[in-house]
Subunit: 387 residues, 2 copies
């Protein structure tokens, strides 16, 4: 094995399967009497979730998250949860409520200024106390945040996103029921799906690979290629939804245990500067990043192993055992086009923003994972292609 090292940790328990939401009544046994449910504002209907809580005699406080988590939101939610004496936390929704729930579960038990626990803008201190028990129930197939140890938080006045990162942020239970993703509309299936796809492509191409993450990516890339478009075209295609939930989970497991690359290196700063979901940004960037990376790798020296990995991806996505790198990248760009992934321009980004994005991305740890070092010109080109 070329790189034989890894250091792996994940949610205490991962439960996966169609209809598994029903297990919630067992899972919450003994966790206490009052829960705060952190959820998105629209789909899916939390009816069944709430029935299970009621049947179990659990009181509930609901906290609605309508954007990605930010400081003000967390302060408010934690204060509500403490006042209601919540014993445990459920996150129910896409990446935003799952991340928010993670931070809220931690902050209920860790007093003082939230900034103490934030990277970059704060002190990045470790959490002193374990979180409240946290059950993450994702209802989109995207971030895989249900199995990671960080929560991304927007600092609105500074136009940046930063991470709270700690082993205590790992959810107690990740409960993944693909049935909950059936009502996700096509455009969100597309963007979240491309986010998940990115999270299994970048770790496979990164500089420091490891055998565990390689295994996750090898499993996930062909599944995403097979099922993302199907789930987009027909949201009720249960096999496709199951595949994408599994891809998302594997993306989270990969992400938590590997560096990423330029898609995430650029998406981080863009997400802080513009009000757009992380998945949409990643989806817009992925094809161009792959094109530019593939070109650079094909023309550079000593990249045999990287070339082989680009070829693996080309074979897996096209299903053609002799596919060229170019054919693989085309296939991915074509998938994004077919799903009408909006470009960065739709998010309000114009070329005048490129210098700031590029400058900020230089400090991102994801950028360091990119398989080749990108010049400013090359990043500029990626952003232009992604408009």
């Amino acid at each position: 094995m070329e790189n034989d090292l890894f250091d792996f940790a994940t949610a205490n328990r991962i439960i996966f399967g169609k209809g598994k939401l029903e297990l919630l009544s067992d899972i919450i046994q003994g966790l206490g009497r009052h829960v705060i449910v952190v959820k998105g504002k629209s789909f899916p209907d939390p009816k069944r979730l709430y029935e299970i809580l009621e049947t179990s005699g659990i009181e509930r406080t609901e906290y609605i998250v309508s954007t990605e988590p930010n400081l003000e939101m967390l302060i408010e939610a934690v204060s509500i949860a403490r006042q209601a004496k919540c014993d445990f936390v459920i996150g129910f929704g896409g990446g935003a409520p799952i991340d928010a729930g993670k931070a809220i579960a931690a902050l209920i038990n860790n007093k003082g200024d939230i900034l103490n626990y934030l990277e970059v803008v704060g002190k990045g201190m470790p959490l002193g106390n374990p979180s409240k028990p946290y059950i993450a129930i994702p209802t989109t197939s995207g971030t895989g945040s249900e199995v990671t140890r960080n929560a991304v938080i927007s600092i609105l006045d500074k136009r940046v996103k930063v991470s709270m990162r700690d082993a205590y942020l790992l959810p107690s239970v990740a409960l993944i029921d693909p049935e909950l993703t059936v009502s996700v509309p096509p455009h969100i299936t597309a963007s979240t799906g491309m986010d998940a796809f990115t999270q299994v492509i970048e770790p496979y191409l990164t500089k420091n690979t490891n055998p565990l993450v390689d295994m996750f990516c090898r499993e996930a890339i062909p599944r995403a290629a097979k099922s993302l478009y199907k789930a987009y075209k027909n949201g009720s295609d249960m096999n496709a939804r199951v595949d994408m939930s599994f891809v998302s989970l594997l993306g989270g497991l990969s992400l938590a245990n590997a560096k990423l690359g330029a898609v995430h290196g650029l998406a981080g700063p863009i997400g802080g500067m513009f009000h757009a979901p992380h998945g949409v940004i990643c989806a817009a960037l992925l094809p161009a990043v792959m094109v530019v990376n593939a070109e650079l790798i094909a023309s550079a020296d000593n990249t045999e192993q990287k070339v082989a990995r680009f070829k693996d991806i080309a074979r897996w996505v096209t299903g053609d055992s002799s596919a060229t790198i170019h054919a693989g990248v085309d296939w991915i760009a074509n998938l994004a086009a077919k799903m009408k992934i909006p470009g960065l321009a739709k998010l309000g980004i114009s070329p005048s923003d490129f210098p700031e994005i590029i400058k900020k991305s230089r400090r991102s740890s994801s950028m360091k994972g990119n398989p080749v070092l990108l010049t400013e010109n090359q990043m500029h080109r990626i952003l232009e292609m992604s408009l």
Copy 2:
């Protein structure tokens, strides 16, 4: 996905890589002042382990495990650990000391009769209190016990082996350093390696598969086929040792999350009745079980999917994309023969023992995972072929 359900849990943290033993000084920070080290009686030399403990100012009590764990041993070790006021536990060795350490870490914090916590012979009660922090450092590539939630314990007077099984038995840290396996002698590399091999073959062929375990098996089977014989022939072949450590880990992850089959269904009762390591028994049984299962599956109806899985294994082990099931099974039997795996007769088993073994195996949960239902005659034939 045909079977889309799983419920996954493992050690809180899995650290893997050549030379990673050195991380122990970080891992033990804050765990306390006194450790009980549960270790095997011979290889490998614990010198470096003890140096790290000494440099970290940790006092140590050593407990040597010379056979697979039994009741008397656990009672003695727990009493020693309590008297020495041990704060945490390290298991260092093959499957026996790793399992013993697991049980000791649990029992220090859970008073009363050990039988309360044992299946079959006792009450099978859940552990009321979390275990002492437990760091599992395997030095053979076999059981994968460093990531499972059960410890196998012999009840000597009843000639049975039973499990203590609880989420609290999952080690806090699995620290897997393939360098520690270099001194394992060839015959033990062979038997432990065949145990690991069995643990990734049986879950792939079992009745109730799931996508996570399938992924582990698909990764592990080709690696074991590539590297087990190399590690047996040349114990210093570091790439082969790394592969086998990874296979063993994947076997543990598979085992903990899937049913097994007839190898384990027969090995359980045999292990209770005869004084032989689990790995040696599995190694002796694997070829015959595969032969008989493959014959039955080839001749039965509605087994297309099972046939496909036997063919997958045949392709992976032989490296020949058109290999027949028969060729795959032959390859595995031949591997066992080349490594001079002793037969069951060497363990003192004779045909007169078969009826009792077969009767006991009917009650084993592993046997229920076998891809086909075996008659008594068929089990008899397997045992005969394995003498």
